[in-house]
């Protein structure tokens, strides 16, 4: 009797949908991973001897420092704008997300353009004041330089997710602590950091995975990491098996880190016990404190957005006549089209899996949740190969079907936008998922359980209760994946149909060939569109708590 009553709850539509999504994600990855165990890699020993130690050193240094700095910047800023009032705070609430609009490799080129010998700073010093400076103080093409760029342009992941969490999270905890006489620092370290742990981990893992995945910046900065080594062994040495071994090593590291975090977190869960979720009441800062908070925000905003943006604008004016053309409207349409569809699909999938995973405490549901991150941890070019292999196989299977409906047997799916958009979904599902998951973390299961107890089924509960409660995180997941796709590169480059150009491919076309001035127009449009998206969704988020 008990079993029969249990069944519908455990194997229902959610399970099936999650299963399908997981299979879709795994398919391309498995086709690659299988090689890890089966194929001999010619250069593996050579790699282990000569380059692996350096890779491990550089990659871990960059990850550790970027991670720590991003957590510091992200949480401190999120805490400031959530818990205090100071001049222009409303503006900073969304402006501090803007650095995400600038792809790190564009930021790298831009900063180098500002700081190098022909850059505005040295030129002014030299031409106006006759001062020649030692290059080493202006050299950003270093490992610390890469950390600087990664931190500044990726910390908003930590910032947004933590802020969305703090905005209407356990105001009671924080206010109680204040009432009990804790000062600002104590509240920050003893309350804010521990309770936002889920959000911080979610945001930081996005930052770190993004770092692991980056190719453009580290390649330009001359800092060998896993991704540069993967490209070099794959393409340069023509040894795809060694490249896959490297990717797999990288993935094992990623999974190890995530699992360790889960274990450390153990059973500590912080979710609301009361239905009265209310926003945190900010404290009004006055005088020097207010200006300190303001200056801190402004400083980070300038470094992460204002300065590179102005430099890009300057370059845009230099090259505008040469570059601008009516084609740009098509580029904008194309970019919006794929970003929107991709982000929408990611949001739907993320909700399905996150909901499934929290309702079912099974091995499969836990693995499903981890699988979402798979696409994010493998370099884009490697994913591209996996995906196109699968699609071409499907096309081959469908050849007879194409013929039966009067089409020529061609690569129909694998030359369509369908493949590209699927690739985006696999690649960026983690971005949407992390946000949604932290939303579910926040509300816990109590409301859902109450609703179920009151007789609504899973699906009804989902639409009437859960979905409404996670609207905020869902929307922020949507923005983040929208922007990600808008600036995405290797997948778009390699999987797009003929004649399908987007803003980011246009920017790459120039920047990849050291024509950073010419790349500025497309980059600026990417930044502006992302900026608008960030602003609009911020408005939506702001009104969320009621």
């Amino acid at each position: 009797m008990k079993l029969i009553r249990k069944l519908p709850g455990y194997i229902n539509i959610w399970t099936w949908l999650s299963l399908i999504i997981v299979v879709l994600i795994l398919l391309p990855n498995v086709s690659i991973l299988i090689n890890f165990f089966t194929q001999e890699a010619d250069n593996w020993e050579h790699i282990q001897e000569f380059i692996l130690p350096d890779l491990l050193k550089n990659t871990s240094l960059i990850m550790i420092f970027t991670g720590i700095l991003a957590i510091f910047l992200g949480t401190s800023l999120a805490w400031l704008v959530s818990a205090y009032d100071f001049p222009m705070k409303k503006f900073f609430k969304w402006a501090l997300i803007l650095p995400l609009a600038i792809p790190p490799y564009i930021a790298g080129y831009t900063y180098n353009g500002i700081l190098n010998y022909t850059g505005v700073i040295q030129t002014t010093l030299r031409n106006q004041f006759g001062i020649s400076v030692d290059q080493k103080y202006f050299d950003i093409l270093t490992l610390p330089g890469a950390v600087f760029i990664f931190t500044l342009f990726l910390f908003p992941y930590v910032f947004t997710i933590t802020r969305a969490f703090l905005a209407n999270q356990s105001a009671s905890l924080i206010e109680n602590a204040r009432l009990l006489g804790r000062n600002a620092w104590e509240v920050y370290f003893r309350i804010v950091l521990p309770i936002s742990r889920g959000a911080i981990v979610g945001g930081t893992s996005l930052v770190l995975l993004e770092v692991l995945n980056d190719y453009g910046l580290v390649q330009y900065f001359g800092v060998p990491t896993f991704s540069t080594a993967i490209f070099q062994t794959w393409f340069g040495m023509n040894d795809i098996n060694s490249a896959i071994k490297l990717s797999a090593t990288l993935m094992f590291i990623v999974f190890a880190v995530l699992i360790i975090e889960k274990l450390l977190r153990g059973r500590k869960k912080y979710s609301n016990t009361t239905a009265k979720v209310r926003p945190l009441n900010p404290i009004q800062l006055k005088g020097r404190k207010a200006w300190t908070a303001f200056s801190y925000c402004l400083f980070i905003f300038s470094l992460g957005f204002l300065i590179p943006f102005i430099q890009l604008l300057d370059w845009m004016f230099l090259t505008f006549d040469k570059i601008a053309s009516p084609e740009f409207t098509t580029l904008i349409q194309n970019s919006l089209l794929v970003s929107f569809i991709g982000a929408a699909m990611i949001s739907v999938f993320a909700v399905i899996i996150a909901n499934f995973s929290r309702m079912h405490q099974s091995f499969f549901s836990k693995s499903a949740a981890r699988v979402t991150i798979l696409g994010y941890s493998i370099p884009g070019a490697v994913i591209a190969v996996g995906i196109s292999t699968v699609f071409i196989d499907i096309d081959n299977l469908l050849f007879s079907f194409y013929e039966s409906i009067g089409m020529e047997p061609t690569l129909f799916l694998s030359t369509s936008l369908f493949m590209l958009i699927s690739a985006y979904v696999i690649r960026f599902l983690a971005v949407g998922y992390n946000s949604v998951e932290s939303g579910f973390d926040k509300i816990g299961n109590k409301f859902t359980e109450a609703s179920r107890m009151l007789g609504m089924n899973m699906t009804k509960t989902f639409f009437k209760v859960d979905l409404r409660m996670i609207k905020g995180p869902l929307i922020s997941g949507f923005i983040l994946s929208f922007i990600e796709i808008l600036k995405e590169l290797p997948l778009t480059l390699i999987l797009r149909p003929f004649n399908f150009d987007t803003l980011s491919t246009q920017a790459f076309q120039y920047a990849g060939d050291e024509q950073i001035h010419e790349a500025s127009l497309a980059s600026i449009i990417i930044v502006v569109i992302s900026g608008i998206a960030i602003y609009i969704f911020h408005q939506v988020l702001e009104k969320e708590p009621n």
Binding site: D54, N112, Q122, S132, N238, T319, L337, A384, S416, P497
Partner: protein, 369 residues
């Protein structure tokens, strides 16, 4: 309420935009009648493209807007549409490989001979017997089995600070490893294909041991850990971080003609040396083109290849991007002529591809980052 309205409004807006974009998408998936593609330059005559003479599908690793002008010209002259996917050389080859026989691509264009050789050795290209191509392109700049053809040449040269270096001291690549240039040599990282090809050419000409010795000498003399692009090396010379740098000719051409006057100033302070004039010659690489094994529009593809080697097209190639034309009847741009004639490595460029893997291994072994 208002927030919902805004959300709905934004979604609507995007959907409308998406719908506009959709028409483009459909146009591409059936790949027949491309009237609304991005590729149509605003001012190009549309008449030509309407009386469709078929199409040709191109994967290209070259990213210059002047290339697009050439494609448009070809369409105008022949009525054949040129459909393009731009990407990284390596990734395009990988894509071609995955697509196999069903691939829609007819042509592969890359910015490095080694890559073309790799595509050939993966059986992705096919032989093209064309008298026009053979006449227009010198023998060492095309594949022995006519599977790929060079279109433009670029030389990898040494530039030096005119104030601090006596050009007499630096006449060969080997001179870069001399003691007097300790901590003075600027060169980008080993992940750069131009450096890989340079070393590959040395393996072919001087043997593995000599090449490794040279690479070790370069690493010992580096002014700083390799970083940045070719232009960054040039700037570092003038900034005083080193005295000599290795770079491709067209980057120097572009710096001399930059919109940024500071870049022009830097380039003007640099002297240029074509190394190894008395010995093996200066390292030259090409960007080139090959017909894919799976090509479904072979005639159009061949016509397109031939078009790109005609004198008119070669002139435009060379003039716009400061590359050397492969067609011996076409003169290089004035700027390049002012640098003088030079002796190039006497080497079939296939060797660059054959030695690429070994070159990377050597670079790793000597610690060239």
């Amino acid at each position: 309420m208002r927030n919902k309205l805004m959300l709905v409004g934004f979604i609507l807006l995007l959907t409308i935009l998406a719908a506009c974009g959709n028409s483009t998408e459909e146009g591409q998936t059936d790949n027949t009648n491309e009237e609304e593609t991005t590729e149509e330059a605003s001012n190009s005559e549309e008449n030509a493209s309407e009386e469709s003479g078929g199409e040709v599908n191109l994967y290209t690793g070259r990213h210059y807007e002047t290339d697009q002008e050439l494609y448009d010209q070809f369409t105008e002259e022949t009525g054949i549409e040129v459909n393009v996917i731009q990407g990284d050389d390596d990734e395009l080859i990988a894509r071609l490989d995955r697509e196999g026989k069903a691939s829609e691509a007819d042509l592969l264009m890359t910015a490095d001979a080694g890559r073309l050789h790799r595509a050939k050795s993966m059986d992705l290209l096919q032989q093209v017997d064309s008298e026009t191509l053979n006449e227009n392109i010198p023998e060492n700049l095309r594949d022995e089995e006519s599977q790929w053809f060079g279109l433009t040449k670029r030389a990898r040269v040494i530039v030096y600070n005119k104030e601090t270096v006596n050009p007499e001291d630096i006449q060969t690549y080997a001179d870069l490893t001399k003691d007097e240039f300790q901590d003075k040599v600027l060169i980008r990282s080993s992940s750069n294909i131009y450096n890989q090809s340079l070393l590959a050419s040395m393996i072919a000409l001087d043997g593995e041991e000599a090449a490794k010795e040279w690479a070790q000498g370069i690493v010992d003399n580096m002014a700083r850990a390799p970083k940045g692009g070719d232009r960054d090396q040039a700037k570092a010379v003038i900034a005083g971080e080193g005295d000599v740098a290795v770079m491709n000719t067209y980057y120097l051409g572009k710096m001399l003609n930059s919109e940024d006057e500071e870049e022009v100033k830097v380039a003007e302070q640099l002297g240029i040396i074509f190394p190894n004039q008395d010995t093996t010659g200066t390292h030259v690489n090409i960007s080139g083109i090959g017909m894919t094994a799976s090509s479904k529009n072979q005639e159009n593809a061949q016509q397109f290849m031939e078009f790109l080697t005609t004198e008119a097209a070669q002139e435009q190639f060379a003039e716009a991007n400061y590359e050397y034309p492969v067609n011996p009847n076409v003169e290089a741009a004035e700027l390049l002529q002012s640098w003088g004639e030079f002796k190039a490595q006497d080497l079939n460029l296939s060797e660059l591809g054959e030695n690429n893997e070994r070159a990377i291994q050597i670079m790793n072994e000597v610690g060239w980052q």
